[in-house]
Assembly symmetry: C2
Homo-oligomer: 303 residues x 2
DNA sequence: GTGAAAGCGCTAACAT
DNA sequence: ATGTTAGCGCTTTCAC
């Protein structure tokens, strides 16, 4: 088949094969954006497990919109994917209903859900936000700003955690986000910091929802002669590859997106492979960890 | 249909629809990796044009392997995609043959081909490499190193351009790449620079195949007290979003991956939409542009 | 217009 | 083992 026929240009029609066998060997994956290493790493893991197992993975991005996500779900179910893996836990009612009655493994990732469709592999974004904030508070800072790009659900939860920690400590929250929904990037971090600087109210520390924002802020500091961490402490989120080698190295909250992808894919394979196709509801907390580096110092006495 | 039936859980079977109508409304896209903003920007453009036009785009990554690319092509043709858009111009003989006899629009992108399958929208990577190198040479540098991660075809072409320029000027090429194939990243730039520093042979200037490498090198400089551009000049490639806001801002060669994606998608739509489905061979050079910023200075006299 | 029937290119179950 | 045939769920054509 591979030798003779394909060299003559014959390629079997998968639509016919799928229709006849009612097996598609595809799994659908929905991510909010491809424009973010976080999801690239996660997708990498999914590919690495699913492709060798003979599955094609169909990636659709929902551009952070629940309506587009619903369309993506319809398209994927229409293609009779054998499982769906979605980043996020917030869906339209119809999305939930379609997924539930499709009777296939569904994995929701990156967050922890109160009401999982069936599998849920994630972490508490709120607790992670709290942890980063308490790290700063413990170091003696009180005027701590929160910097974010567009406030998607995960960033919002991290903000909630920040807010809770600040309130519990008796400090005022200082939000710092772009009015326009701009995706997190080094350039945005730079812009937001510059804006804050020009307004004249620099905080003692900043918690950025994303390492890219943090890097941008650090670069802007450098340009303006503000020393990190001497004059201002900065912590990022996700512990991206560059955090360790930034100058100064960047404190961050490490998240496990690669492992999340691996596990999600493994669980899907197990569910698809097994004789019992009934996926029970299960929730797995992947956790996170605080990584303290040079960019967060101890507050000077008397401040 | 959307109202009543779907709420009851009915989702039409696309495999059947595709088989019956012999229209799939899908286009296949092959990229070497998702782990690089370059391709994310390109994919974004493809999605933005194709999805509103009613096409589903199926993204497959070939992980920089021509064999995996061939498998991807087989899978896509098996699905009867209506067009194929591939990053790159180097394919296995079978890949080329399959694409040619499939009689569908094929767009090869990012490079300029001597023998396009049909459409080819790219730029001369070699000329761009030459341009970056001549910029450094014109500024008075002679000991100019070339830094790269894994040497894929595009990086190799940029190196060729660098080598040509160096040779034409009577200077010796200094290659600087990772023995192991590591993808371009800030961390890799940092590592490679550190390695070179510890070997004790710092050049006067570095041309990095990628802005990420350049940023890593700049950060390593900072840690080691080497001033950019006073002690060493650095130029990157692609002009990523952060290049302008880096401290110091990074000189680079701007490439047009978003526009490339837009144009590729437009051409595909035109070919698919039109009555004449015969796509003629056509080549479009998107060009590039040198962006000079702070990271490349003029050589001090007498050096 | 509305409705019935043929058939897309495979797979799987059957008969030989 | 090998060959034959029904049928997957739609679209499209053709008859009404």
């Amino acid at each position: 088949m591979n030798e003779a026929i394909e060299k003559l240009g014959y390629v079997p029609n998968l639509a016919a094969s799928r229709l006849a066998s009612s097996r598609t060997h595809t799994v659908g994956v929905i991510v909010p954006t491809l424009y973010n290493v976080i999801f690239a790493e996660y997708l990498l893991a999914l590919h690495e497990v699913l492709v060798p197992a003979g599955f094609q993975v169909i990636v659709v991005n929902s551009r952070y919109s629940e309506v587009e996500e619903e369309n993506a779900i319809k398209a994927l179910l229409g293609q009779r994917v054998e499982a769906v893996i979605i980043a996020g836990i917030h869906h339209t009612p119809l999305s939930r209903q379609l997924l539930k009655q499709a009777h296939l493994p569904v994995v929701e990732t990156f967050e922890l859900s109160d009401d999982p469709i069936n599998l849920n592999i994630g972490m508490s974004q709120e607790l992670a936000g709290q942890t980063a904030t308490y790290h700063l508070i413990t170091r003696g800072f009180q005027r701590i700003a929160f910097m974010t790009g567009n406030l998607d659900h995960r960033a919002q939860s991290r903000f909630d955690g920040y807010h809770t920690a600040m309130q519990a400590s008796g400090f005022k929250s200082l939000e710092l986000n772009s009015r326009m929904a701009r995706h997190s990037s080094v350039a945005l971090g730079s812009d937001l910091f510059a804006e804050m600087y020009l307004r004249g109210d620099l905080p003692e520390a900043i918690f950025c929802t994303d390492d890219n924002l943090a890097l941008g802020a650090m670069q802007e500091c450098r340009k303006r002669g503000i020393r990190v961490p001497h004059d201002i402490s900065i912590i990022g989120f996700h512990d991206l590859e560059f955090a360790a080698c930034a100058a100064p190295s960047l404190s961050s909250v490490a998240t496990r997106r690669y492992e999340t992808g691996m596990l999600a894919a493994d669980k899907v394979l197990a569910a698809l492979d097994g004789s019992n196709r009934n996926v029970e509801i299960q929730q797995i907390d992947m956790g996170f960890s605080l990584v303290v580096r040079e960019s967060t110092a101890v507050a000077a006495d008397g401040i």
